[in-house]
Symmetry: C2
Subunit: 214 residues, 2 copies
Amino acid sequence: MKNILDRNQNKAEEVRRLLESRKVMMINIISSPGAGKTTLLERTCEVMAGEVRLGVIEGDVTTDRDAQRLKKYNIPIVAINTEGGCHLDSHSISMALEHFDLDSLDLLIVENVGNLICPSQFDLGETFKLAVVSTAEGDDKPAKYPMLFSEARAVILNKTDLIPYTNFRMDSFMVDMAAINPRITIIKLSALKGEGLEEWFSWLRMQLAAYSAG
Amino acid sequence: MKNILDRNQNKAEEVRRLLESRKVMMINIISSPGAGKTTLLERTCEVMAGEVRLGVIEGDVTTDRDAQRLKKYNIPIVAINTEGGCHLDSHSISMALEHFDLDSLDLLIVENVGNLICPSQFDLGETFKLAVVSTAEGDDKPAKYPMLFSEARAVILNKTDLIPYTNFRMDSFMVDMAAINPRITIIKLSALKGEGLEEWFSWLRMQLAAYSAG
Protein backbone atom coordinates (compact mmCIF):
# COMPACT_ATOMS: atom_id res chain seq x y z
CA MET A 1 0.00 0.00 0.00
CA LYS A 2 2.84 2.38 0.90
CA ASN A 3 4.40 1.60 -2.47
CA ILE A 4 1.16 2.39 -4.33
CA LEU A 5 0.81 5.70 -2.48
CA ASP A 6 4.45 6.64 -3.15
CA ARG A 7 4.13 5.97 -6.88
CA ASN A 8 0.86 7.91 -6.95
CA GLN A 9 2.52 10.84 -5.18
CA ASN A 10 5.43 10.97 -7.63
CA LYS A 11 3.11 11.03 -10.64
CA ALA A 12 0.91 13.63 -8.90
CA GLU A 13 3.89 15.97 -8.53
CA GLU A 14 4.60 15.50 -12.24
CA VAL A 15 0.97 16.35 -13.10
CA ARG A 16 1.09 19.40 -10.82
CA ARG A 17 4.26 20.73 -12.48
CA LEU A 18 2.76 20.17 -15.95
CA LEU A 19 -0.44 22.05 -15.05
CA GLU A 20 1.51 24.89 -13.45
CA SER A 21 3.65 25.26 -16.55
CA ARG A 22 0.46 25.63 -18.62
CA LYS A 23 -1.32 27.77 -15.98
CA VAL A 24 -4.24 25.39 -15.59
CA MET A 25 -5.87 25.30 -12.14
CA MET A 26 -7.22 21.85 -11.29
CA ILE A 27 -9.90 21.13 -8.66
CA ASN A 28 -10.44 17.63 -7.29
CA ILE A 29 -14.08 17.34 -6.14
CA ILE A 30 -14.73 14.60 -3.58
CA SER A 31 -17.98 13.54 -1.89
CA SER A 32 -20.22 10.61 -1.00
CA PRO A 33 -22.43 9.22 -3.76
CA GLY A 34 -25.39 11.53 -4.27
CA ALA A 35 -24.07 14.58 -2.43
CA GLY A 36 -24.54 16.60 -5.60
CA LYS A 37 -21.16 16.83 -7.35
CA THR A 38 -22.59 16.53 -10.86
CA THR A 39 -25.44 18.97 -10.26
CA LEU A 40 -22.91 21.47 -8.88
CA LEU A 41 -20.82 20.91 -12.02
CA GLU A 42 -23.86 21.53 -14.24
CA ARG A 43 -24.53 24.86 -12.49
CA THR A 44 -20.82 25.72 -12.67
CA CYS A 45 -20.63 24.97 -16.41
CA GLU A 46 -23.70 27.11 -17.07
CA VAL A 47 -22.06 30.20 -15.57
CA MET A 48 -18.30 29.71 -15.64
CA ALA A 49 -17.94 28.18 -19.12
CA GLY A 50 -18.72 31.67 -20.46
CA GLU A 51 -16.03 33.30 -18.30
CA VAL A 52 -13.08 30.92 -18.35
CA ARG A 53 -11.85 28.10 -20.55
CA LEU A 54 -13.19 25.11 -18.63
CA GLY A 55 -12.57 21.37 -18.97
CA VAL A 56 -13.87 18.41 -16.96
CA ILE A 57 -12.57 14.95 -16.07
CA GLU A 58 -15.44 12.68 -14.99
CA GLY A 59 -14.59 9.69 -12.79
CA ASP A 60 -17.15 6.91 -12.55
CA VAL A 61 -17.11 3.32 -11.33
CA THR A 62 -19.00 1.60 -14.13
CA THR A 63 -20.92 4.07 -16.29
CA ASP A 64 -20.42 7.39 -18.09
CA ARG A 65 -23.77 8.81 -16.92
CA ASP A 66 -22.18 11.89 -15.35
CA ALA A 67 -20.16 12.70 -18.46
CA GLN A 68 -23.37 12.39 -20.50
CA ARG A 69 -25.09 14.94 -18.24
CA LEU A 70 -22.39 17.52 -19.04
CA LYS A 71 -22.28 17.04 -22.81
CA LYS A 72 -24.74 19.86 -23.50
CA TYR A 73 -22.27 22.48 -22.23
CA ASN A 74 -19.99 21.93 -25.19
CA ILE A 75 -16.77 21.89 -23.18
CA PRO A 76 -13.94 19.33 -23.39
CA ILE A 77 -14.79 16.31 -21.18
CA VAL A 78 -12.79 13.14 -20.61
CA ALA A 79 -14.53 10.25 -18.83
CA ILE A 80 -12.50 7.82 -16.72
CA ASN A 81 -14.27 4.55 -15.95
CA THR A 82 -12.46 2.98 -12.98
CA GLU A 83 -14.08 -0.43 -13.66
CA GLY A 84 -15.03 -0.94 -10.04
CA GLY A 85 -12.08 0.99 -8.61
CA CYS A 86 -13.01 3.16 -5.64
CA HIS A 87 -10.98 6.28 -6.46
CA LEU A 88 -9.10 8.07 -9.23
CA ASP A 89 -5.29 8.11 -9.16
CA SER A 90 -2.66 10.40 -10.64
CA HIS A 91 -1.76 7.92 -13.40
CA SER A 92 -5.29 7.92 -14.84
CA ILE A 93 -5.34 11.74 -14.61
CA SER A 94 -2.00 11.95 -16.39
CA MET A 95 -3.37 9.83 -19.25
CA ALA A 96 -6.60 11.85 -19.37
CA LEU A 97 -4.59 15.09 -19.68
CA GLU A 98 -3.20 13.87 -23.02
CA HIS A 99 -6.70 14.30 -24.48
CA PHE A 100 -6.87 18.01 -23.60
CA ASP A 101 -5.23 20.97 -25.27
CA LEU A 102 -3.85 22.39 -22.00
CA ASP A 103 -2.87 25.70 -23.60
CA SER A 104 -6.56 26.31 -24.26
CA LEU A 105 -7.67 25.74 -20.64
CA ASP A 106 -7.78 27.89 -17.50
CA LEU A 107 -9.66 25.53 -15.22
CA LEU A 108 -9.93 21.77 -15.08
CA ILE A 109 -12.48 20.23 -12.71
CA VAL A 110 -12.12 16.58 -11.75
CA GLU A 111 -15.22 14.83 -10.43
CA ASN A 112 -13.88 11.95 -8.38
CA VAL A 113 -15.71 8.66 -7.77
CA GLY A 114 -18.47 8.95 -5.12
CA ASN A 115 -16.59 7.91 -1.99
CA LEU A 116 -15.77 9.92 1.12
CA ILE A 117 -12.80 7.76 2.17
CA CYS A 118 -10.39 6.38 -0.46
CA PRO A 119 -10.11 9.39 -2.84
CA SER A 120 -8.80 11.58 -0.01
CA GLN A 121 -5.64 9.42 0.14
CA PHE A 122 -4.74 9.89 -3.52
CA ASP A 123 -3.20 13.19 -4.60
CA LEU A 124 -4.12 13.73 -8.28
CA GLY A 125 -1.82 16.70 -8.77
CA GLU A 126 -4.74 19.07 -8.14
CA THR A 127 -4.36 22.68 -7.05
CA PHE A 128 -6.78 21.90 -4.21
CA LYS A 129 -9.44 19.47 -3.06
CA LEU A 130 -13.07 20.56 -2.78
CA ALA A 131 -15.34 18.56 -0.46
CA VAL A 132 -19.08 18.40 -1.11
CA VAL A 133 -21.44 17.16 1.58
CA SER A 134 -25.23 17.16 1.56
CA THR A 135 -27.34 18.23 4.55
CA ALA A 136 -29.37 15.04 4.06
CA GLU A 137 -26.27 13.01 5.04
CA GLY A 138 -26.43 14.44 8.56
CA ASP A 139 -24.32 16.96 10.45
CA ASP A 140 -21.86 14.36 11.76
CA LYS A 141 -20.02 13.59 8.51
CA PRO A 142 -16.93 15.80 9.05
CA ALA A 143 -16.37 14.27 12.49
CA LYS A 144 -16.86 10.72 11.23
CA TYR A 145 -14.80 11.07 8.02
CA PRO A 146 -12.21 13.74 8.93
CA MET A 147 -9.53 12.77 6.36
CA LEU A 148 -11.10 14.65 3.46
CA PHE A 149 -12.29 17.64 5.48
CA SER A 150 -8.89 18.23 7.11
CA GLU A 151 -7.27 18.52 3.65
CA ALA A 152 -9.87 20.31 1.54
CA ARG A 153 -9.50 24.04 0.84
CA ALA A 154 -13.28 24.45 0.90
CA VAL A 155 -16.39 22.44 1.69
CA ILE A 156 -19.67 22.95 -0.10
CA LEU A 157 -22.62 22.17 2.14
CA ASN A 158 -25.21 21.26 -0.50
CA LYS A 159 -28.99 20.72 -0.35
CA THR A 160 -29.52 23.47 2.23
CA ASP A 161 -33.15 23.55 1.03
CA LEU A 162 -33.67 20.15 2.73
CA ILE A 163 -32.63 21.33 6.22
CA PRO A 164 -36.22 22.00 7.40
CA TYR A 165 -37.14 18.36 6.63
CA THR A 166 -34.11 16.69 8.29
CA ASN A 167 -32.49 16.55 11.73
CA PHE A 168 -29.41 18.43 10.46
CA ARG A 169 -28.06 20.81 13.14
CA MET A 170 -25.98 23.60 11.61
CA ASP A 171 -24.28 24.54 14.90
CA SER A 172 -23.05 21.00 15.40
CA PHE A 173 -21.73 20.82 11.81
CA MET A 174 -19.91 24.17 12.16
CA VAL A 175 -18.33 23.29 15.53
CA ASP A 176 -17.07 19.93 14.20
CA MET A 177 -15.71 21.52 11.00
CA ALA A 178 -13.86 24.22 12.96
CA ALA A 179 -12.24 21.57 15.16
CA ILE A 180 -11.07 19.52 12.14
CA ASN A 181 -9.97 22.35 9.87
CA PRO A 182 -10.30 25.92 11.20
CA ARG A 183 -9.04 27.48 7.92
CA ILE A 184 -11.52 25.74 5.58
CA THR A 185 -13.99 27.88 3.63
CA ILE A 186 -17.60 26.74 4.10
CA ILE A 187 -20.06 27.55 1.31
CA LYS A 188 -23.74 26.78 1.86
CA LEU A 189 -25.96 26.32 -1.19
CA SER A 190 -28.58 24.29 -2.99
CA ALA A 191 -27.27 23.37 -6.43
CA LEU A 192 -30.64 21.91 -7.46
CA LYS A 193 -32.68 24.95 -6.39
CA GLY A 194 -29.99 27.43 -7.45
CA GLU A 195 -29.72 29.03 -4.00
CA GLY A 196 -26.40 30.39 -2.74
CA LEU A 197 -24.51 29.74 -5.97
CA GLU A 198 -23.15 33.29 -6.25
CA GLU A 199 -20.97 32.76 -3.19
CA TRP A 200 -19.48 29.65 -4.84
CA PHE A 201 -18.80 31.47 -8.12
CA SER A 202 -17.21 34.45 -6.33
CA TRP A 203 -14.96 32.19 -4.29
CA LEU A 204 -14.00 30.22 -7.41
CA ARG A 205 -13.13 33.44 -9.29
CA MET A 206 -10.92 34.47 -6.35
CA GLN A 207 -9.06 31.16 -6.46
CA LEU A 208 -8.52 31.51 -10.23
CA ALA A 209 -7.20 35.04 -9.82
CA ALA A 210 -4.83 33.98 -7.03
CA TYR A 211 -3.61 30.99 -9.08
CA SER A 212 -2.91 32.95 -12.23
CA ALA A 213 -1.17 35.66 -10.17
CA GLY A 214 1.16 32.86 -9.16
CA MET B 1 -5.15 -7.44 -4.18
CA LYS B 2 -6.21 -10.94 -5.32
CA ASN B 3 -4.23 -12.35 -2.40
CA ILE B 4 -5.98 -10.05 0.11
CA LEU B 5 -9.40 -11.00 -1.27
CA ASP B 6 -8.58 -14.73 -1.17
CA ARG B 7 -7.46 -14.58 2.45
CA ASN B 8 -10.55 -12.55 3.32
CA GLN B 9 -12.77 -15.13 1.61
CA ASN B 10 -11.21 -18.05 3.51
CA LYS B 11 -11.71 -16.36 6.85
CA ALA B 12 -15.26 -15.37 5.85
CA GLU B 13 -16.14 -19.03 5.20
CA GLU B 14 -14.76 -19.88 8.65
CA VAL B 15 -16.92 -17.13 10.23
CA ARG B 16 -19.97 -18.35 8.32
CA ARG B 17 -19.50 -21.94 9.52
CA LEU B 18 -19.03 -20.75 13.12
CA LEU B 19 -22.22 -18.66 13.02
CA GLU B 20 -24.20 -21.49 11.43
CA SER B 21 -23.05 -23.91 14.12
CA ARG B 22 -24.37 -21.46 16.75
CA LYS B 23 -27.50 -20.58 14.75
CA VAL B 24 -26.71 -16.85 14.61
CA MET B 25 -27.96 -14.99 11.53
CA MET B 26 -25.60 -12.13 10.55
CA ILE B 27 -26.58 -9.15 8.39
CA ASN B 28 -23.94 -6.93 6.77
CA ILE B 29 -25.44 -3.45 6.27
CA ILE B 30 -23.74 -1.35 3.58
CA SER B 31 -24.48 2.19 2.40
CA SER B 32 -23.01 5.59 1.62
CA PRO B 33 -22.23 7.86 4.56
CA GLY B 34 -25.43 9.38 5.86
CA ALA B 35 -27.93 7.06 4.16
CA GLY B 36 -29.35 6.22 7.57
CA LYS B 37 -27.79 2.92 8.70
CA THR B 38 -27.50 3.91 12.35
CA THR B 39 -30.99 5.40 12.54
CA LEU B 40 -32.38 2.19 11.01
CA LEU B 41 -30.43 0.24 13.63
CA GLU B 42 -31.88 2.40 16.41
CA ARG B 43 -35.45 1.70 15.21
CA THR B 44 -34.58 -1.99 14.80
CA CYS B 45 -33.16 -2.25 18.33
CA GLU B 46 -36.26 -0.56 19.78
CA VAL B 47 -38.56 -3.23 18.34
CA MET B 48 -36.52 -6.36 17.67
CA ALA B 49 -34.39 -6.38 20.86
CA GLY B 50 -37.56 -7.41 22.69
CA GLU B 51 -38.26 -10.27 20.27
CA VAL B 52 -34.88 -11.82 19.51
CA ARG B 53 -31.47 -11.89 21.13
CA LEU B 54 -29.72 -9.15 19.18
CA GLY B 55 -26.08 -8.06 19.00
CA VAL B 56 -24.37 -5.35 16.93
CA ILE B 57 -20.90 -4.84 15.43
CA GLU B 58 -20.30 -1.15 14.67
CA GLY B 59 -17.69 -0.31 12.03
CA ASP B 60 -16.35 3.24 11.96
CA VAL B 61 -13.38 4.95 10.35
CA THR B 62 -12.16 7.08 13.24
CA THR B 63 -14.78 7.44 15.99
CA ASP B 64 -17.16 5.28 18.04
CA ARG B 65 -20.07 7.73 17.64
CA ASP B 66 -22.42 5.13 16.14
CA ALA B 67 -21.71 2.62 18.93
CA GLN B 68 -22.44 5.38 21.46
CA ARG B 69 -25.84 6.02 19.85
CA LEU B 70 -26.84 2.37 20.41
CA LYS B 71 -25.69 2.05 24.03
CA LYS B 72 -29.12 2.87 25.46
CA TYR B 73 -30.62 -0.34 24.04
CA ASN B 74 -28.64 -2.46 26.47
CA ILE B 75 -27.57 -5.05 23.90
CA PRO B 76 -24.06 -6.43 23.31
CA ILE B 77 -22.14 -4.08 20.98
CA VAL B 78 -18.58 -4.36 19.72
CA ALA B 79 -17.08 -1.31 17.98
CA ILE B 80 -14.44 -1.77 15.28
CA ASN B 81 -12.43 1.35 14.47
CA THR B 82 -10.78 0.78 11.09
CA GLU B 83 -8.33 3.70 11.66
CA GLY B 84 -8.95 5.18 8.23
CA GLY B 85 -9.65 1.85 6.53
CA CYS B 86 -12.49 2.05 4.02
CA HIS B 87 -14.24 -1.27 4.80
CA LEU B 88 -14.55 -4.06 7.37
CA ASP B 89 -12.96 -7.43 6.62
CA SER B 90 -13.61 -10.96 7.84
CA HIS B 91 -10.54 -10.96 10.10
CA SER B 92 -11.78 -8.00 12.15
CA ILE B 93 -15.24 -9.64 12.35
CA SER B 94 -13.67 -12.90 13.52
CA MET B 95 -11.87 -11.06 16.32
CA ALA B 96 -15.02 -9.11 17.24
CA LEU B 97 -16.99 -12.38 17.54
CA GLU B 98 -14.72 -13.45 20.41
CA HIS B 99 -16.32 -10.70 22.50
CA PHE B 100 -19.85 -12.11 22.09
CA ASP B 101 -21.48 -15.10 23.76
CA LEU B 102 -22.74 -16.57 20.48
CA ASP B 103 -24.97 -19.12 22.22
CA SER B 104 -26.97 -16.18 23.61
CA LEU B 105 -27.57 -14.55 20.21
CA ASP B 106 -30.10 -15.06 17.41
CA LEU B 107 -29.22 -12.07 15.25
CA LEU B 108 -26.02 -10.13 14.75
CA ILE B 109 -26.14 -6.92 12.73
CA VAL B 110 -22.93 -5.48 11.31
CA GLU B 111 -22.94 -1.81 10.40
CA ASN B 112 -20.17 -1.46 7.84
CA VAL B 113 -18.15 1.71 7.21
CA GLY B 114 -20.06 4.33 5.16
CA ASN B 115 -18.90 3.49 1.63
CA LEU B 116 -20.87 2.19 -1.33
CA ILE B 117 -17.88 0.64 -3.14
CA CYS B 118 -15.15 -1.16 -1.16
CA PRO B 119 -17.28 -3.02 1.46
CA SER B 120 -19.16 -4.84 -1.31
CA GLN B 121 -15.92 -6.65 -2.27
CA PHE B 122 -15.31 -8.09 1.21
CA ASP B 123 -17.39 -11.05 2.34
CA LEU B 124 -17.61 -10.89 6.15
CA GLY B 125 -19.19 -14.32 6.57
CA GLU B 126 -22.63 -12.72 6.73
CA THR B 127 -25.88 -14.56 5.98
CA PHE B 128 -26.73 -11.76 3.57
CA LYS B 129 -25.90 -8.17 2.65
CA LEU B 130 -28.47 -5.41 3.15
CA ALA B 131 -28.09 -2.23 1.08
CA VAL B 132 -29.41 1.07 2.38
CA VAL B 133 -29.81 4.03 0.04
CA SER B 134 -31.42 7.39 0.73
CA THR B 135 -33.81 9.11 -1.68
CA ALA B 136 -31.74 12.28 -1.19
CA GLU B 137 -28.80 10.55 -2.91
CA GLY B 138 -30.76 10.44 -6.17
CA ASP B 139 -32.45 7.66 -8.12
CA ASP B 140 -29.31 6.79 -10.14
CA LYS B 141 -27.27 5.14 -7.37
CA PRO B 142 -28.02 1.45 -8.22
CA ALA B 143 -27.04 2.04 -11.86
CA LYS B 144 -23.86 3.93 -10.93
CA TYR B 145 -22.72 1.58 -8.12
CA PRO B 146 -24.14 -1.80 -9.19
CA MET B 147 -21.69 -4.04 -7.28
CA LEU B 148 -23.51 -3.81 -3.95
CA PHE B 149 -27.02 -3.87 -5.38
CA SER B 150 -26.39 -6.95 -7.51
CA GLU B 151 -25.34 -8.92 -4.39
CA ALA B 152 -27.66 -7.64 -1.66
CA ARG B 153 -30.69 -9.72 -0.64
CA ALA B 154 -32.67 -6.55 0.03
CA VAL B 155 -32.35 -2.81 -0.39
CA ILE B 156 -33.89 -0.33 2.00
CA LEU B 157 -34.85 2.89 0.25
CA ASN B 158 -34.68 5.28 3.20
CA LYS B 159 -35.84 8.89 3.68
CA THR B 160 -38.97 8.44 1.57
CA ASP B 161 -40.36 11.49 3.41
CA LEU B 162 -37.88 13.66 1.46
CA ILE B 163 -39.11 12.59 -2.00
CA PRO B 164 -41.43 15.60 -2.43
CA TYR B 165 -38.46 17.95 -1.93
CA THR B 166 -35.98 16.23 -4.28
CA ASN B 167 -35.78 15.23 -7.95
CA PHE B 168 -35.92 11.51 -7.06
CA ARG B 169 -37.91 9.54 -9.67
CA MET B 170 -39.24 6.29 -8.22
CA ASP B 171 -39.94 4.71 -11.64
CA SER B 172 -36.36 5.28 -12.75
CA PHE B 173 -35.00 3.78 -9.50
CA MET B 174 -37.26 0.71 -9.80
CA VAL B 175 -36.41 0.08 -13.46
CA ASP B 176 -32.65 0.32 -12.78
CA MET B 177 -32.91 -1.96 -9.71
CA ALA B 178 -34.86 -4.58 -11.67
CA ALA B 179 -32.22 -4.59 -14.40
CA ILE B 180 -29.37 -5.04 -11.90
CA ASN B 181 -31.02 -7.55 -9.55
CA PRO B 182 -34.54 -8.70 -10.41
CA ARG B 183 -34.79 -10.88 -7.26
CA ILE B 184 -33.91 -8.17 -4.72
CA THR B 185 -36.51 -7.15 -2.12
CA ILE B 186 -37.12 -3.39 -2.05
CA ILE B 187 -38.39 -1.89 1.21
CA LYS B 188 -39.36 1.78 1.26
CA LEU B 189 -39.36 3.59 4.58
CA SER B 190 -38.35 6.63 6.60
CA ALA B 191 -36.36 5.50 9.62
CA LEU B 192 -36.31 9.01 11.07
CA LYS B 193 -40.06 9.59 10.72
CA GLY B 194 -40.94 5.97 11.58
CA GLU B 195 -42.86 5.40 8.33
CA GLY B 196 -42.89 1.98 6.64
CA LEU B 197 -40.92 0.24 9.37
CA GLU B 198 -43.44 -2.60 9.80
CA GLU B 199 -42.60 -3.95 6.36
CA TRP B 200 -38.91 -4.06 7.34
CA PHE B 201 -39.63 -5.83 10.63
CA SER B 202 -41.92 -8.38 8.92
CA TRP B 203 -39.32 -9.13 6.28
CA LEU B 204 -36.61 -9.45 8.94
CA ARG B 205 -38.76 -11.87 10.96
CA MET B 206 -39.26 -13.97 7.81
CA GLN B 207 -35.50 -14.14 7.20
CA LEU B 208 -34.92 -15.19 10.81
CA ALA B 209 -37.55 -17.93 10.58
CA ALA B 210 -36.10 -19.22 7.31
CA TYR B 211 -32.57 -19.18 8.75
CA SER B 212 -33.45 -21.05 11.94
CA ALA B 213 -35.48 -23.60 9.92
CA GLY B 214 -32.15 -24.26 8.24
